[in-house]
Symmetry: C2
Subunit: 152 residues, 2 copies
DNA sequence: TTTGGTGCAAAATTTTTGCAGGCTA
DNA sequence: TAGCCTGCAAAAATTTTGCACCAAA
């Protein structure tokens, strides 16, 4: 589950940060498009619809803040854009597992999926390298059903 | 195994591309640092040692070319830099599996590892979504042995 | 010789920063 | 009211492009 507005306001208050229209709108835009993987520019355009006076610099500053609060995730889908999406809300210990991304090399579409198959791998790594894994990000490349049909 | 110079020259020749000192030196720099994850700027600085007249634009154009030839991989370790590393040479069908990266959140060090544990997952995905996976990239975040000791 | 490749500089992008003024608490 | 936050514009940083010249084939 992602943050709702009240939770967000509570988080800001607890950190001594101010609740501003801009911050709420940026988070709202990301919440409204959970699987859209928006760029900073896209977020800016979305927020401008309801609040035309917002500046792009504020969007960047807010993104930075939301990242630090772990409310959103930065993702890079190798299309040359840095993107952001609303994160799962959770305790520190269970926050680890964002969903992953299936990237179609044919049409560029993105499918998200959830899977904890890597837990086993994480254990193995801890054993062999001494590295304790707390989080992971997986990108899978391939061809979606539709593109596969086109190719054949 | 990564490309050697002769293989590289052969590939260029077959594609009707010219073998230039700059192209050879950029590839050589990347080959010499298989686990260094160099940025464009770093590659530029490295090549300049032996060939001071090279331009940064040429480095970018060469990186682009090497990516298209699948001789190098672009990686993003979330430190704000786009990085490149020499890729494994292989047939189209077996090229899938680059190694993956363990990123230490403490000291920023990167460990590379190879694992095919995702094969199982790929099968599962094909079944449930119709998406055929041809490649994957995994990043694992955590704390390396040294940083773990410091924390405790 | 021909064509593609290069270096340089300028342009285009993307992101960050400084500062004066505005708004939240 | 005090200080954080914002908008604007300028700056910084990164990558791309135009063009004349050079070099590989």
């Amino acid at each position: 589950m992602s943050v709702n507005r009240e939770q967000f306001e509570k988080i800001l208050r607890e950190k001594g940060l101010k609740i501003t229209t801009q911050r709420v709108l940026v988070l709202t835009a990301l919440s409204a498009c959970p699987d859209k993987h928006l760029t900073a520019e896209e977020i800016y355009e979305l927020v401008k619809v309801d609040y035309p006076e917002i500046g792009l610099a504020t969007v960047y500053r807010t993104i930075q803040l939301l990242l630090e609060l772990h409310l959103i995730d930065r993702i890079n889908l190798d299309d040359g854009y840095v993107r952001y999406e609303i994160g799962d809300l959770g305790e520190e210990e269970t926050r680890h597992h964002h969903h992953h991304h299936l990237i179609c090399l044919g049409c560029g579409s993105i499918l998200s999926f959830q899977d904890d198959l890597l837990e086993e791998l994480e254990g193995k790594i801890a054993e062999t390298t001494g590295f304790s894994v707390t989080d992971h990000e997986v990108k899978l490349y391939g061809y979606c059903e539709e593109c596969r049909r086109k190719i054949d």
